[in-house]
Amino acid sequence: MATRDYSLTGPSAKRAVDAGLSAAEWYHTDVSRKEMKALMKRRDGPPMRDTMIWAFLHVLFATGGIYFWGSWVAVPFWLAYGLLYGSACDSRWHECGHGTAFRTRWMNDVIYHIASFQIMRNPVNWRWSHARHHTDTLIVGRDPEIAWMHPIRLGMKALAYVGLHDTLVSLKTLARNAVGWLSPDEKDYIPQSEWPKAVFWARIHMVIYAFTVGVATMMFLGGLGWKAIIPFLLIGGPRIYGCWHMVMTGLLQHGGLAEDVLDHRLNSRTLYMNPISRWIYWNMNYHVEHHMFPMVPYYALPALHELINYDLPSPNTSIWDGYREMIGAVLRQRREPGYFVKKNLPATAKPYREDLHTHVPERQDRRNSHALD
């Protein structure tokens, strides 16, 4: 299996810059300024409603889990709590990081920090890594957030649904940042002026985890037995037992699609999904639309989708359909490095802007794409 270099400081990074793939001009569907202004408009109402439901459900499920402790009835309460904490945090972190959820700026910031804590991400590092992900989406050597790196280790991907490995890696990163160390990749995408902030927020996160361990230890020493794990079920633990939905939806965003292209229609996936998943995921299933127009808040993405659908490949019809396509492509990528799903465009769409990226030298032997649909 071919190995690619995904580091941000290695040969791929240099090649991407030399090939003009970094900070490049991307294809955008035409949308009039008037329509775009209406779509970009921020409101506090929808995110406040969703945040109040989110907060209320945290309290409700945690209370149920504690109240029914010792009986099997507690299990669904903890699973639901874990889902809200360990999965819904991802979309809140993401949208508030963009600053698009709330009109009121401090509300975005507060939810961003809470969700960053839940997802165990350093709020400074990830703001910058995500900015890079938008500038250089799936450009190898530039994008720090590529989920499917080749060669794909399917066992590790399957394990990601139980977030144990990811949690340990995240805690290690936070601990490393807390003592003042930033990795070469982090130093590449975070400006130096922000490094002290990264250290500060890592320390805040670690203090809260230390406090949680302290409370659990005291409960155990106080003779509460198994109840001493409740602090971990409430804080930190849901990142393990509740992350499955975040992983399920997150892997679909770009899985099996093209690397090193400059047209989001080739490297991002839009799909339809059930309303509960869409609420948890804050409409990020409209992922091509989000990448093309990151200023559009999550509650306006369905309208944006309706507006530009004529120019996009047909969406996958469900999570199942998305997985069928993605897993098929990923298995083939293991045999044929360079293969990616290239969906047919509707007759109304402008052709893929392959001219924007075809001059990449490495692409010469990576042209095995296959049309689907």
Binding site: A23, K41, H98, G99, R127, P294, M295
Partner: protein, 103 residues
């Protein structure tokens, strides 16, 4: 440089921005919520993206690429990933035209 005639006041809706190119440079001209007109450099200080494609909200302009935020009245960078302030230029209105003083 003298005051330069940039555009007509009615070319910019209130709480909006347009791009203005002049002498190999690019600027953004804003119609503020206070009714006044403002001018800044046209490109974001983070990654050189045209701010005129962004969103004007109250006194701020949000960059279309990574949602960095500036106060367009004084150019102050307000939200990462923008760290560097934006240059601003004085404006005045004469006979329905917006004039910009470029140094």
């Amino acid at each position: 440089m003298p005051w330069i005639d940039a555009c007509a006041t009615d070319e910019i809706e209130e709480e909006d921005v347009i791009r203005w190119d002049h002498a190999d440079r690019t600027f953004a001209i804003y119609h503020g919520v206070d009714g006044a007109f403002y001018c800044t450099d046209g490109l974001c200080t983070h990654e050189q993206v045209h701010l005129a494609d962004g969103l004007v909200m109250d006194n701020d302009i949000e960059c279309p690429r990574h949602n960095g935020l500036f106060d367009y009245r004084n150019g102050n960078a307000l939200r990462a990933p923008v760290c560097e302030d934006l240059a601003t230029y004085p404006t005045k209105v004469e006979g329905g035209r917006i004039l910009v003083l470029l140094e």
